[in-house]
């Protein structure tokens, strides 16, 4: 059914449709409205059989969720930025213990300097933590990805982070289609944990693993993520068949067949980029767009097959590896290793800096110098600081 909802409320309602037993989260902008929404649904009795835990910190929030998941309860948490970093030790622990927890990350910059606005720095801090990671392009996709996330997590026994651009999506009022409870129940069966803490079959979870076995454990985690690629693709198809929407899956291409230049990105900025692509194509050029929906596992084959005909690939990302440059652009470059394509790396929108169509258009048409482009950078300010002895 169609609703006019704030992104966070839509996500809260979608999570509620997945019938979690334990929800535990700690307020931080821009994620806060999601937890308020869920608390409200629990308190009003609309979300039954669910415990909403008010905790004292993010490490508490995710640890409660970890404990609940290990006891066999479908569990959920959400955070942003500093909150994720505050959780980080437990983030690695959840995946190491193979607990299929689902977490929403309302993407926000990481300080210092403190900044509450959107970029993907927080997500990038978790990219090697063993979680599956998805990026939503629209609020509708955010709704859909949460339903998919629980199914994927429980089927693959891997935790999932659903990335949703802070403010741009979390605080935007848009029309979204919320599936019915019956539809979701049909798609997402009740949680049956593989291993859990039970007195009928006592087991020790979380042993110390010495060097003789540790490498194998990590190798298996890597293999499991690789195998998850197929499950993610199949479940994306299932989702399409059941709900009629092309949410989820690995990558989404736009005008990609004929394209000579393809712009690769993640998250909500894809919408703006597609508008620019349309404009350029109307002017007779051959541009396309590729959104990475599933960022972990990194879908190398899907990316290669989407980009194999491109002559130029422009990666626009909201993250920066300080001392290296782009993160996604390096990963795409590695994936395309051996193909004859020109790579352009664009870092954009850090700390909520506006990304406009005009800026993108100019950038896409510029001849690349081979250096990383910082979109909309105030060169004068930067140079005056370098001049002053930085």
């Amino acid at each position: 059914m169609l609703h006019q909802l704030e992104g966070s409320q839509a996500i809260a309602r979608s999570v509620a449709l997945c019938r979690p037993n334990v929800v535990s989260a700690y307020p931080i902008s821009p994620q806060t409205h999601i937890l308020e929404g869920l608390e409200g649904l629990v308190r009003s009795g609309k979300l039954e059989s669910c415990e909403y835990m008010n905790v004292e910190s993010e490490i508490g929030a995710i640890s409660v969720a970890l404990g609940a998941e290990s006891a066999g309860a479908r569990s959920y948490t959400a955070t942003s930025s500093q909150g994720l970093l505050h959780m980080m030790e437990v983030v690695y622990n959840v995946s190491g213990l193979e607990l299929p927890l689902v977490m929403t990350l309302g993407n926000r910059a990481v300080g210092a300097p403190i900044n509450i606005w959107n970029d993907h720095s927080d997500a990038m801090a978790a990219r090697d933590a063993g979680w599956l990671m998805f990026f939503a392009e629209t609020n509708q996709e955010a709704v859909d990805l949460h339903i998919l996330a629980f199914r994927i997590a429980e089927e693959t026994q891997c935790p999932v982070i659903v990335n949703v651009d802070g403010f741009i999506l979390t605080h935007a009022y848009e029309q979204v289609d919320l599936p019915s409870q019956d539809q979701v129940d049909e798609f997402l069966p009740p949680y049956k944990p593989n291993t859990s803490l039970t007195v009928d079959n006592p087991m020790a979870i979380g042993a110390m693993v010495p060097p003789e076995y540790f490498m194998e454990v990590k190798h298996l985690a890597h293999r499991k993520q690789e195998q998850a690629l197929e499950a993610i693709e199949n479940l994306g198809n299932d989702f399409y068949n059941k709900f009629g929407r092309n949410s989820g899956g690995l990558v989404h291409g736009y005008a990609i067949q004929e394209a000579e230049t393809v712009v690769v990105t993640m998250g909500s900025v894809a919408g703006t980029i597609k508008d620019v692509v349309d404009e350029l194509n109307r002017e007779g050029m051959k541009f396309g767009e590729l959104s990475i929906c599933c960022y972990r596992p990194f879908p190398v084959s899907a990316i290669v097959s989407a980009l194999k005909n491109a002559r130029k690939v422009i990666v626009v990302e909201k993250s920066l590896a300080i001392g290296l440059g782009g993160i996604l652009s390096r990963e795409i470059e590695l994936a395309l290793n051996g193909l004859d394509v020109q790579m352009v790396s664009v870092v954009a929108g850090l700390g909520g800096r506006n990304i406009t169509k005009a800026m993108l258009k100019e950038c896409f048409l510029k001849k690349s110098s081979g250096e990383v482009t910082f979109l909309g950078l105030d060169e004068k300010l930067v140079n005056s600081n370098i001049g002053s002895g930085l």
């Binding site: 415990e51 905790v55 490490i59 409660v64 970890l66 404990g67 998941e69 622990n93 110390m208």
Partner: protein
Amino acid sequence: MSNYTIGGGFSGENATVQSAHDRPNTITSGHKACQGCGEALGARCVLDAAYRLTGGKIVVVTATGCLEVFSSVYPENSWNVPWIHSLFGNAPAVASGVAAAFRRLGKEDVRVIAQGGDGAIADISMGCLSGMFERNDDVLCVCYDNQAYMNTGVQRSGVTPSFARTATTLPNGVYFGNEERTGKNVPKIAMAHGIPYVAMGSVGNIRDLEQKVVRAMGIRGARYIHVHVPCPLGWGYPTSETIRVARLAIRCGLFPLFEAENGKVVGSTPIEDQVPVEDYLRTQRRFAHLFGKNAPVNALESLQNMANENIDEYRLVGGLAHE
């Protein structure tokens, strides 16, 4: 009445769980703890008593530290109960999550115990612990207090006693071990949350400890037991002396055994034959610098004052035991 026998001698209600031929054996032998480890003994007593009382319906969340490392190195495992280790700093929160799950899954008959060392519970988990207390989650948290970070090589914790030598409070002629009157009193912090049950126990008095576990398990909500567990390696005494050292700590008054309900002390275990703190301190190398030529002037007096304050506060000598 206190009972200093571990092996038996009393029957019926007065017998210890440990003296029973069919004790539950929640931690099996063969683990890697040092000989004479007070923490291994403490955990066995606590969990066996809880297991016996609940008919085996317990789940145990253990923090990183000696207890976890000596009991669960893959492919071996000493635990005969459903058990989880997550991290050093989150055991109380993980336990809160397990309890929340059981509440929602209709398994409230299974009880949740969080446990860890003093470093884990008193220091790095303090935030999670306070959260668990203030929400009154149905969790029993047990702190095995060996008064330092043993697993990482005996560094100071927030409950290391005054003047104790640790790897990070080495006496050097200018400093005399741990700073005087620093540190925190976790049972009092727990009591300040008004939780239904708080107790201090010791492996020096097994029957008293078991009774406290039984009382704690008879109550729902957040409960806390702080257990004194001497560590031969960290404290520097022969491995055969753990029980004697633990008893001297009780008898000198430095480790008061008491119980509190809803934030108020309701009873204490009387000292039967009081000794000066010196008798306790002299057993351990961590206090050796308090004696001999270069000893600090007021250390013994200061520690004796602390013991006397405990004796007064909890009426440990000639006072009232349980009403």
